[in-house]
């Protein structure tokens, strides 16, 4: 019996009990639909994030002091003391790919205003830092170059610090105590929210690096240098020359680990991407569980169906169906059920994700890979879960089957 024949017979057999076939397919429809929707939405979210990162400016290059262990920029400082402002100036001088750079050093300090106090990190940097990081103020202004030159006691605070110390009061122009020194608040930065690693980017205070070096932390070396290149390609191309320049300045022998880390915005975008992708696959995996459940549903219904159709199987065998014929028939019925469910599920998944993305104003990306995977999975589920019932049907003894009540 050729395949087309078997397929048509299977379709007719399934059509005999449309309600039951529809309900059996439901599990697969939901499973596949869920996977497709989740993956499409996830990929849409990934795309959004990528766009957002692009908008932030992908020309940034960060050089962090520290050994090669940590992943992000703000981790793993350790006690490395070799990154300096002179390094930064050397980079600016000798690597034309780099447009501008700002130094950065951090220190944790107690901060007081009135009867509110808070412990946060004070980052000393130059006034062009905010330009490099595309981080505008929402009130007041950043400190000026002159204020950096004279190591003025001024600062710019993030919205979390503002909320904790000032509540609803306007902080601009007010004086807070950092360590035990008075600092005038020049401005409040726009909110950036949480970063990739879950840190609150608004829980921060910036001050001129000269001030921090001389009056707060007493150290001259830097934790990192924030730089921006002339273009995105330049930011990637600058990694090599910066590496060799610093290795030379720090007298690092070939083969030894460097005492600094270079990260481009592209790296950060990559990390974001990976995280998102992991989330998407995780959710997709969970949704796949419902696909499994759908398969079990098919197996159960097929077993019931085989029992109910015992007489019919007996008759088919009596008029000449072989074991193979019977097995193939039920297997094709199961696969037809699962694949039809798969196709309907794909359509539902796409419609569902379109609806949700409409609601959330998110783009949805139709993943061709996910669709192909869904098709293959539904077929596999049909074959795997349909095999046992099909085998049971084929093994029936025609005489017993014909006698079955």
């Amino acid at each position: 019996m050729d395949f087309m024949n078997t397929f048509r017979l299977a379709l007719r057999a399934l059509a005999r009990n449309k309600m039951r076939s529809a309900l059996t397919m439901l599990g697969i429809i939901i499973g596949v639909g869920a996977v497709i929707a989740v993956v499409s939405i996830g990929q849409g979210a990934q795309y959004l994030v990528q766009q957002g990162i692009q908008a932030m400016g992908t020309n940034a290059v960060f050089i962090a002091a520290g050994s090669n262990r940590a992943g992000g920029v703000r981790q793993g400082y350790g006690g490395v003391k070799t990154l300096t402002v002179d390094d930064m100036n050397a980079i600016l001088r000798e690597i034309p790919l780099i447009k501008q750079a700002a130094p950065a050093l951090t220190s944790r300090q107690q901060v007081v205003y009135g009867n509110q106090n808070w412990n946060t990190s004070i980052t000393g940097t130059a006034s062009n830092y905010f330009d490099i990081r595309t981080w505008p103020v929402q009130a007041g202004s950043v400190f000026s170059n002159e204020e950096v030159d004279i190591a003025a006691n001024v600062c710019v605070i993030g919205t979390t610090v503002e909320k904790i110390l000032f509540g609803d009061e306007n902080p601009v122009g007010k004086t807070i105590r950092i360590g035990n020194l008075p600092f005038r608040v020049d401005g409040v930065l726009e909110s950036k929210g949480q970063n990739v690693t879950g840190q609150d980017q608004d829980d921060v205070i910036f001050a001129p690096y000269t001030t921090v070096q001389r009056k707060i932390s007493g150290i001259t070396w830097l934790q990192f240098i924030a730089a921006s290149a002339v273009s995105q390609e330049a930011s990637l191309a600058a990694v090599a020359p910066i590496t060799s320049l610093l290795r030379e300045r720090h007298r690092i022998r070939p083969g030894d680990d460097a005492d600094f880390l270079i990260r481009t915005q592209a790296d950060i975008a990559d990390l974001q991407n990976q995280t998102q992708a992991t989330m998407t696959y995780l959710l997709g995996g969970i949704a796949s569980v419902s696909l499994l459940v759908g398969g079990i549903g098919i197996m159960n219904i097929m077993l019931v169906s085989v029992t109910e159709r015992t007489r019919e199987i007996g008759v088919r065998m009596a008029v000449g169906a072989t074991e193979d014929d019977v097995r193939r028939q039920f297997l094709v019925e199961a696969v037809t059920l699962s694949m039809m469910g798969g196709f309907i599920g794909i359509i539902f998944g796409l419609v569902g994700s379109a609806l949700i993305s409409n609601l959330l104003s998110w783009p949805t990306l139709i993943s061709g890979k996910a669709i192909i995977a869904a098709v293959i999975f539904s077929a596999a589920v049909g074959i795997f879960f349909g095999y046992y019932p099909a085998h049971k049907a084929a093994q029936l003894d025609p005489i017993e089957a014909l006698r079955y009540e």
């Binding site: 017979l9 019919e312 007996g314 008759v315 009596a318 000449g320 005489i399």
Partner: protein, 283 residues
């Protein structure tokens, strides 16, 4: 012994062909039920020739069901041989037997065993599906078979839309569709009323007389057996009697002699009136 030779000779005289369509040679069938062994058939030998109409009878446990299963190639003899149309099928595999059933045998069951929610013509087509016939050819053959039993106009009906007699006729058409050598019927009238039973026997007799189809029928009703030409009586796993039917019924004649539906209604009404009169008298 002498009886058997006479019978065999008489059978040969009644029939045109020379070689038997069915030949059982000392067939035994034993069922192994763990501790007990049931001997369903104990050394059965018989021959059926083309064009015969045989009734298989016997009480339950006599082996008549077992013999039908073996004749129908649904079961294999434990010992002995079965030649179907000259071919020894006793040692064949399940798959080979399935093919034999498809080509050489037609089945008619007591409970019709039609596929529900399926049209009559599709039901009749079923054996052709497993014969590897093209869809067009299948429908053609099915319609031919349906015409032979007089149901071509009901081809699209589902079993639920057909009377018992009509369903059995569809089943007979299904049994004929692959032009088998033998039609095997297991209590074909068991689920039908008297009149319809005779109509079915009429069809079987017609197929047997006009188209020379060999019919082997299992029944426990002596009345039905009278429509056959030859009776095989089984008892305790052995063939006890093999005799020709005396005063065979002709279904066509019997049907003519039966009251028509109107006459039957009139008779019933008269009977009711009598009963009513009797009860009025006692009151």
């Amino acid at each position: 012994m002498a009886d058997q030779i006479t019978i065999a000779m008489e059978s040969k005289e009644t029939v045109a062909g020379g070689k038997p369509v069915i030949r059982l040679e000392n067939v035994f069938k034993t069922y192994d039920l763990g501790e007990i062994q049931v001997q369903a058939l104990r050394g059965v030998s018989l021959e059926v020739y083309e064009g015969e109409f045989v009734a298989v009878m016997g009480p339950s446990g006599s082996g008549k069901s077992t013999i039908m299963n073996i004749l129908g190639c649904l079961d294999r003899p434990t010992k002995g041989r079965y030649f179907l149309d000259g071919v020894d099928v006793s040692g064949m595999t399940k798959t080979e037997l399935a093919r034999i059933r498809n080509r050489k045998l037609g089945f008619v069951f007591q409970q019709f065993n039609l596929l529900s929610r399926t049209s009559a013509v599709e039901n009749v087509e079923l054996p052709t599906v497993y014969a590897g016939v093209s869809p067009e050819e299948r429908t053609k053959r099915a319609m031919e078979a349906l015409t032979r039993v007089g149901l071509a106009d009901r081809a699209g009906h589902h079993p639920s839309q057909l009377s018992g007699g009509q369903q059995q006729r569809v089943a007979i058409a299904r049994g004929l569709v692959n032009r088998p050598a033998i039609l095997l019927a297991d209590e074909p009238t068991g689920n039908l009323d008297s009149r319809t039973s005779i109509e079915i026997m009429d069809i079987l007799q017609t197929l047997n007389n006009e188209q020379g189809i060999t019919v082997v029928l299992v029944t426990h009703e002596p009345d039905i057996a009278q429509y056959a030409k030859r009776t095989l009586l089984f008892r305790d796993g052995k063939l006890k009697r093999d005799s020709l039917v005396q005063d065979r019924f002709d279904a066509r004649e019997v049907l003519k002699s039966l009251p028509t539906v109107e006459q039957q209604a009139a008779e019933d009404a008269a009977e009711e009136a009598q009963k009513l009169a009797k009860s009025e008298r006692t009151v």
